[in-house]
Amino acid sequence: MKVITANFVTCAVKECKTSAQSFPLHFHDAELEMSELDFQPEFIRNVVPRIDWEALRVTANELGFPTLPDVKPEGDALNDEQTLKDLHRLLLETQVMEGKLKCGNCGHEYVIKEGIANFLLPSHLV
């Protein structure tokens, strides 16, 4: 699971959608793997405006990437090659291979296995 994915998923339980606690989901016991992908600066520049920066900071911190800037790079800052490369590395090249994503509202844990996160709910949560 690419780190960017965590910015666009939340708890699958209906009642959690209205709770601010359900986003972002929280990583536990994450095992990371880096995989080299083509660096497309335009892609990073285009998606950053749609990133919830506060949520990404929480995620990055949980995964041991504490160096994310306090504020989201905008305008000229998005022309800085190093900034884009760092984001490319974090968002696309960093894969969570094993671990759990936990909802801060209901406490349910979604398992990530061999890089694939599974959001199917057990019958008691449906």
Partner: protein, 225 residues
């Protein structure tokens, strides 16, 4: 078809989800090109847009546009695993009736050849409603479903035929050509106008709709509340 709503989940588990788990690899090898309407819909999405592909299968539609970011999801882990290889996109395992996405966020969504696998009218409407829920006001959702009216296809069904059917998937053995295994998948064939009507009931407005390659398709947007 399931008689009761309460049995529908189990019915689809046996007659749709488990079948796809079994046929994932062979199915994927035969699905490699997007349909023209899907392709043009995705190509017209502005760079930097974020969307979802619900029931992404092997992720063939993730290949169309690399300037946007798509989170694909599928009930079959085997298919999600294949879809996951299409960068820069992502794929997860999820249920169309319980998507792990926030309300009113995405710029667009696609759901191609998926809602015809839900076995009751209310579940089909609920599935479309769940996708519409995740799309922002003004965002667009492309939905595609198998048509009842396809008398020129090799299946030959047409108006007036049974809409709830089992369709065989025959997998030939790679090593022994004489051996084959058959898996039956449940389908609900949509009749003319049915997809548009389901979208209305799901709280969507139909922007455009039509027929392509034995399927009905529609582009919907969430109704303004």
């Amino acid at each position: 078809m399931a008689e009761l709503e309460s049995q529908a989940d189990q019915y689809e588990q046996e007659n749709v989800h488990e079948v796809y788990q079994h046929i994932a690899q062979h199915f994927s090898a035969t699905r490699y090109k997007s349909w023209p309407i899907v392709e043009s819909f995705l190509q017209e999405i502005p760079a930097g847009s974020i969307g979802i592909d619900v029931g992404c299968g092997n992720g063939k539609n993730l290949l169309v546009n690399r300037d946007i970011f798509i989170i694909g999801s599928d009930r079959s882990e085997n298919l999600a695993r294949i879809a996951h290889q299409h960068h820069p996109h992502a794929a997860v395992v999820a249920d169309i009736l319980h998507l792990p996405h926030r309300d009113a966020f995405f710029d667009f969504a696609i759901c191609i050849a998926v809602v015809h696998h839900l076995s009751t009218p209310s579940r089909r409407v609920a599935a479309i409603a769940e996708i519409l829920r995740t799309v922002k006001p003004g965002g667009t959702v492309l939905v595609y479903a198998w048509a009842l009216e396809q008398k020129n296809s090799r299946r030959g069904w047409d108006k007036g035929d049974e809409q709830d059917i089992m369709v065989p998937w025959v997998r030939k053995s790679a090593t022994e050509p004489n051996k084959s295994q058959t898996f039956n998948r449940y389908y609900h064939l949509f009749q003319e106008g049915e997809l548009e009507s389901d979208i209305q009931m799901a709280g969507g407005d139909v922007v455009r709709s039509g027929y392509e390659k034995d399927n009905w398709w529609a582009i919907a947007t969430p109704k303004i509340k």
